[in-house]
Amino acid sequence: MLRKLLITLCLSAALCCVAAGVERPVNSSWGLALGSAHTIDTYLTPLRYSGWGAELTYRRAQAMKFNPERWSQNVDFGLAFDSMENPARNASMYYAGFDASYAMLWRTSLPWGVTAGIGPHLRGDIGVIYLARNGNNPASVKASVTAGARGYLQRRFTLGRMPVTLRWQSELPVTGAFFSPQYDELYYEIYLGNHSGLAHAAWWGNFFRWDNQVTADLHFSPNALRVGFCQTLLSTKVNNITSRQWGFAFILGVTNDWLTVTPGRAPSAENRKIIFAY
């Protein structure tokens, strides 16, 4: 099943590359999410650390060549940083991470002007939690590659004279692989060469991630101001180590709609008509 999914995604990506010279609507956005961050990682500490988290994101959605009315591809990148303290506020924990994802979304129209999209996505994450007070176990590396589903509901309306796009998006990895040291295994031992038991197949029983975001795009010509709210949750339990990272954040960003064009060839009227808000 996973193999079929990967083959489909690879073929689709190849088609996209072939179609790179053809004009297609693109929605790109830069955003900054700022809010609360919470972490428990029993490899480092049994305590819950809380503080603030920030993530800089770049998202690019583009209609696909083979069926631009129905399908879009989405490429997202994120750079996150969290700064937290323990309950006694005498120790600090930091998280820095990078994520990248690719999704193909199939779009359909629902009643009341709602647009819905759903499709598979691949996501890669790498990051590290650092707890300054620990000696031999100061850090916990977080790395995963997952495949799952992404979906959204979207509705356009006007607020006064301003067009607004209200959107809820949810992302739920289903399977994949992730890294975890063994229970009390030092990274020093891993460095020495003991690599057994570090990679784990992910399923909801040992790896659960669920990200949601609600945004409103306030359109000014091709540009829009994005405001919104997001929630992230990652909970893992493997090798008797439980790790949970979650947070809530406000989003502020700018989006831009544009067309990719082939030099020397004017955009077709048909493609101009495709309003493919990511």
């Binding site: 309950p87 120790a91 229970y183 060469g193």
Partner: protein, 340 residues
């Protein structure tokens, strides 16, 4: 609206997928239970030390009351940790850090750096990156390495071993070296090997049960890279009870090498690589979690004994006369005249 019927199922999945972590509050009783549980789930030497941790709980738990002060609670918990007889196990608060000191306090000091400097080095020795070295009067090289926390580089070792190359033998004095980084154990030891050599093995706990351990993972040292200065003459490693942790591992590695003799007193042990954790009240705790074994698969938590026939102490009366009987013994082993 049909989708709404699936919402309870979705929330059930989310709740089931958020893996539980038991959390404690900062009251004395909860703090005590939290510390006891951390050690119960992570400490690695219960069996080897014959410690019945449940029994320890039953003795100490009644001493904890919710109305006791922080210092009173700290004292009770520190005494509980002392039951482990482990120099790598500490409780840290802002006002105190507990140490189990009897692993060295019940033994002779067997080292006086002033005595060595004054009577053997004449205060005339080279210091570089944590190592002090000189040539003793009977043409025996002497290296003092006081802490494995002091970074020592390949260039520093090249300089020292080149300087001492004309000597007939070498004393490496790691008495009262209480450890530091394992990296420097390898950096130094690989100057004394010619082939890939099994140095030690390491394992770790795989779960909270007292007997849940991984298979030991063998760790090999390779000789220093070509072009580095090597040492192939006889070596005596001098150690005492204060040789601990990485110092203890260094002695166990060197003892397994041909041409190396370990002299002095049994080392202090400390072969469990320590982990850190913490309590809700903000106190930190450190404990042994990852045992190391020597090249023969023996646990060295209780120390490394000198080579047979090479146990020697510092004679206090001789020390008053300016003699370090342990260095004299080492010089004798290397064919030098102990008292020129």
């Amino acid at each position: 609206m049909r989708l709404l019927r699936f919402l309870p199922l979705l929330f059930a999945v989310v709740l089931a997928s958020c893996h539980e972590v038991k959390e404690y509050d900062a009251t004395p009783r909860q703090t005590f239970e939290q510390l006891w549980t951390i050690l119960d789930e992570h400490y690695c030497f219960f069996r080897e030390k014959g410690v019945d941790w449940e029994e320890v709980h039953s003795r100490y738990a009644p001493m904890v009351a919710d109305r006791m002060t922080s210092r009173e609670l700290f004292d009770v918990m520190a005494r509980m940790l002392d039951e482990l007889r482990d120099g790598h196990t500490n409780l840290s608060a802002s006002f105190c850090t507990s140490y189990y000191r009897r692993w060295w306090a019940d033994y002779p000091e067997n080292f006086d750096w002033r005595l060595v400097q004054e009577n053997y080095l004449n205060f005339n020795y080279i210091s570089s990156a944590g190592i002090d070295y000189a040539v003793l009067t009977s043409n025996i090289g002497y290296i003092r390495y006081s802490s494995f926390s002091s970074p020592v580089g390949e260039g520093n070792l090249d300089a020292a071993l080149s300087y001492l190359a004309p000597c007939d033998g070498l004393i490496i004095d790691v008495r009262s070296n209480s450890g530091g980084s394992m990296t420097y154990v390898e950096t130094i030891a690989r100057r004394f090997i010619t082939d890939r050599t099994l140095a030690y093995s390491i394992c770790h706990k795989t779960g909270p049960e007292h007997d849940a351990f991984s298979d030991p993972y063998p760790v090999y040292f390779n000789p220093a890279p070509e072009g580095r200065v090597m040492w192939d003459k006889p070596v005596v490693v001098l150690c005492n009870r204060g040789t601990f942790s990485a110092g203890n591992i260094f002695v166990s590695v060197m003892k397994s090498l041909p041409g190396v003799t370990v002299a002095g007193a049994t080392t202090g042990g400390g072969s469990g690589m320590p982990f850190n954790s913490e309590l809700t009240c903000g106190w930190g705790v450190r404990f042994s979690a990852s045992p190391l074994y020597d090249a023969d698969g023996r646990l060295t938590e209780f120390g490394v004994e000198p080579t047979e026939g090479c146990a020697v102490d510092l004679d206090p009366e001789a020390a008053l006369a300016g003699r370090d009987t342990m260095i004299d013994f080492a010089v004798g082993l290397l064919g030098g005249n102990p008292q020129p």
